[in-house]
Symmetry: C2
Subunit: 199 residues, 2 copies
């Protein structure tokens, strides 16, 4: 009987390969990274990764999944670190932009809307939904405190659109460095004012 890979063996290899892929994808973009390079990075032969991943797309999906999960963690941490709807809103927004600008490559990969057949990677979909839920969920706190009026879902999406739009403008080079944060702060202020109940 031959040696059989334990679950942790598999998990270890997958993790090491994801780390390498993340680094190389960030340096050169996913298309410019070859399976042969990835294998060489781990000191194995070119076909070995195929024991652990379906194909290259599967590796990309795993990297994006990790990105979404780390992103969601950063947002959740920010949300827990603050008290009061307004402070939470600020903290989450700042954490969002910080993550996006500190990990631009991950962020770009995660939100690359040209990535095809996302739906066939359930883990990726789940991680994306986790991030989305964290992003919109805290808005409900603001309603609980009577800070805003309207449809919470719609306002959550408005807020999300505003942050994402600001970040993407910066990442596609249409804003000076740091511009996204400035733009978002302006949007946030104006929205808070514009959405006050009494108007």
């Amino acid at each position: 009987m031959p040696r059989v890979l334990s679950d942790t063996d598999v998990a270890d290899f997958r993790e090491r390969l994801c780390e390498a892929a993340e680094r190389l994808f960030a340096e050169r973009g996913p298309d410019a990274v070859t399976m042969r390079q990835l294998a060489a990075e781990l000191g194995v032969s070119p076909m070995t990764p195929y024991r652990y991943f379906e194909d290259k797309d599967d590796i990309l999906a795993a990297v994006r999944t990790n990105g979404f999960n780390r992103f969601a963690e950063a947002l959740e941490t920010a949300r827990e670190s603050a008290a009061g709807a307004r402070a939470i809103g600020t903290a989450v927004g700042e954490a969002y932009i910080t993550f996006a600008l500190e990990h631009p490559h991950s962020y770009k990969l995660m939100f690359d809307f040209n990535q095809p057949h996302v739906e066939q990677y359930p883990d990726l979909v789940a991680a994306g939904q986790r991030a989305q839920k964290t992003m919109t969920g805290y808005i409900e706190d603001a309603f609980a405190e009577g800070l805003m009026s309207g449809d919470p879902m719609q306002i959550g999406l408005m807020n999300w659109a505003a942050i994402h739009g600001a970040v993407i403008l910066e990442l596609s080079g249409m804003l000076p460095p740091g511009g996204a944060r400035m733009i978002y702060r302006g949007l946030d202020d104006a929205l808070i004012r514009g959405l006050r109940p009494q108007d």
Copy 2:
């Protein structure tokens, strides 16, 4: 002495190839389109396009440049068709969303922030700046009428980020059809209120 291609010959070929590329890119995404297919589409041999374009990236850059220019034209037309800052704002915003939803593939290509080495295509950069200028310029009209207070440039970018974010939410399938327009109208209303001078 041999036949020499006139400027219009070259321009014609480039234009026909861009048309084909745009169509095929939209159908299958740029990575899935090969140089050989593009050449076949024009009825020429695989290497002929290389007389007219540097390489495949150059073709993609040309397609994106065309997209930005048509986009800018659509916005400029909308701007000219309306009178009064508020009406212009509405017209441009609606035209923006209409363009993005009617040409989702162009829009995705144009704003695909994973596209590398943009800076080495001056025409592409110029077309992007033209779109940006149109997008932010009309905000100045609103200031001229005393509709808003603050930094026009910043507010123009805020508005752009809001529209872009809403569009992208819809294009990545996170909104029902028509959702972008709804989200943007909500954002626009709230911003107009939140940015009123007297506050």
